[in-house]
């Protein structure tokens, strides 16, 4: 290969060197690339999907009717321990902000009516408006990945924030109060 008769070391030969450099460059790009924020379903402030149906206590709930209010949609299930822990916090948030137009609705995923009633009794949240989702298809329509998951729907019916996993008082404060406007 080398005209001078002294063979060049293998890594100096063009195809190998080029391939190695390319591989290294791509590897570095991939390694340093920030993990891309999920697109589509994750983007906050997208219009909230429809959510309507019979509630656990025989009433009816329609998110479209709640336009003009800030709605916390909590996706939960009685079989989910963390959901059990955060329910009182969410119920308390609704109580605290109810006169400023905040409502809370629970979307109960793949659960039984009796089990969820027991959970509400146990956590002191029997007032909660619960929309059963026995086959979980409503949750999938909302792009839910697991329970608990909480959405904040603003007064215009858009998803202003979402939290995968348990919400904290601080998170609620940060996400909800800006939507409330002047008291």
């Amino acid at each position: 290969m080398s005209r001078s008769g002294v063979p060049r070391p293998w890594w100096r030969r063009p195809p190998v060197g080029a391939a190695l450099a390319l591989a290294l460059a791509v590897g570095a790009v991939l390694a340093l690339r920030p993990t891309s924020a999920p697109t589509g379903g994750d983007s906050a402030s997208a219009p909230a999907p429809a959510l309507a149906g019979a509630t656990l206590d025989g009433g009816r709930f329609d998110l479209a009717d709640a336009r003009g209010q800030v709605v916390l949609v909590n996706v939960f299930a009685s079989w989910c321990g963390p959901c059990r822990d955060e329910l009182p916090l969410l119920a308390e948030a609704e109580r605290r902000w109810s006169d400023r137009g905040v409502r809370l609705v629970g979307l109960d995923v793949r659960d039984g009516a009796e089990a969820v009633r027991a959970l509400l009794a146990e956590t002191g949240t029997t007032e909660l408006v619960v929309l059963p989702d026995p086959d979980g298809t409503r949750s999938v329509d909302w792009g839910v990945r697991g329970v608990p998951e909480t959405f904040v729907v603003d007064r215009q019916g858009r998803i202003a924030a979402r939290q995968r996993g348990v919400v904290t008082a601080r998170w609620l404060e940060q996400q909800v109060t800006p939507l409330l406007g002047a008291p």
């Binding site: 591989a23 589509g40 995923v109 089990a115 697991g146």
Partner: protein, 317 residues
């Protein structure tokens, strides 16, 4: 020298064939006949690590399968359904996201590297010095220098290694294909599984509730027995007795039914308990709980509140 070239060509052909096979296997359709399953297999379970919606046992994957089935029933095409999911979960919900940008390089780089290595291998193995050295093999030992030959061997080894790697990937990919797709989870199965999880966490009252839910949808004595055990462990001896009696009316010699009834009676009708437990021992002397029950019957004073509640032999899946 001819055999060397032939070998080189063979290695090249093998490499290209393996690369082609791998490409076809990884991009082609999985060959599933059921459209629901085919679409579910092309979606990634968002709550799991590296599992498709068709494989995952998580509740959300079960719900996603349901959505796929509903939409297929409505006559929507697989692409429409996938788009529907991408709108909600983003592109990472696709098991095979479209190759573009950086991800296209992920395909291009191995191909380029492969070509480069093949080229280098061929160049190294070929006798040096151009046409002048193209003569009988007698000259061969004085041809390339020692380092050149070592390099040549290294290249051959590398090429063979690559062939082996690609072959093993191809073989492994075949083994990864699921021979029999798991039956889609139905709500009752999910409820029973959740109940079992709750039992493992020693949350027996919650477990009993989930077993109750499962039974409402589908009466089944195996689940009923698990409910009875869960009730017993949650301290509801009356409920456990009622449930086990319910099972025993249908199958009077059910060992688990007798076991849980006997243990429940220790709380509700202590005088009846030994009789029931003896019947249990007579029916199932080899039962995993038999030794414990014998100890219990032999011991004059069973420890208060210390219901042993052995595991039922029957296990539901």
């Amino acid at each position: 020298m001819r055999w060397r070239r032939t070998l080189g060509a063979l290695v090249l052909v093998a490499l290209l064939a393996a690369a082609g096979t791998a490409l076809v296997r990884s991009t082609g359709p999985a060959g599933r006949s059921d459209p629901v399953e085919a679409v579910a297999a092309s979606l990634r379970c968002p709550a799991c690590q590296g599992e498709s919606v068709v494989d995952s046992r998580s509740p959300i994957a079960a719900s996603m399968r349901q959505v796929v089935a509903d939409q297929v029933a409505q006559g929507r095409s697989p692409d429409e359904i996938r788009r529907w999911f991408v709108q909600r979960y983003g592109e990472e919900v696709l098991a095979d996201p479209p190759a573009r940008g950086v991800f296209l390089l992920l395909w291009a780089v191995p191909v380029l590297v492969l070509l480069g290595v093949c080229y280098a291998a061929v160049r190294t193995a070929r006798p040096r010095g151009g046409p002048a050295t193209r003569q009988p093999a007698a000259d061969r030992p004085v041809g390339p220098g020692l380092s050149g030959r070592t390099a040549g061997r290294a290249w051959w080894a590398a090429s063979l290694g690559l062939v082996a790697t690609m072959a093993s990937v191809t073989v492994a990919a075949r083994q990864l294909d699921r021979p029999a797709p798991a039956a889609p989870a139905d709500p009752v199965t999910v409820a029973v599984r959740l109940a079992q999880d709750l039992e493992q966490q020693q949350r027996y009252a919650a477990a009993a509730q989930m077993y109750g839910e499962a039974l409402r949808d589908r009466p089944d004595d195996t689940v009923r027995l698990r409910l009875a055990f869960a009730l017993l462990r949650s301290g509801d001896a009356t409920g456990a007795e009622r449930t086990s009696r319910d099972v025993l009316t249908r199958s009077p010699d059910s060992p688990d039914g007798l076991l849980v009834l006997g243990l429940a009676q220790r709380g509700t009708h202590p005088t009846d308990a030994p009789g029931t437990l003896r019947r249990f021992l007579a029916v199932a002397p080899e039962h995993p709980a038999a030794a414990e029950i014998r100890r219990l019957l032999a011991g004059a004073s069973p420890t208060a509140g210390g219901t042993p509640a052995p595991r039922p032999a029957a296990a539901t899946g």
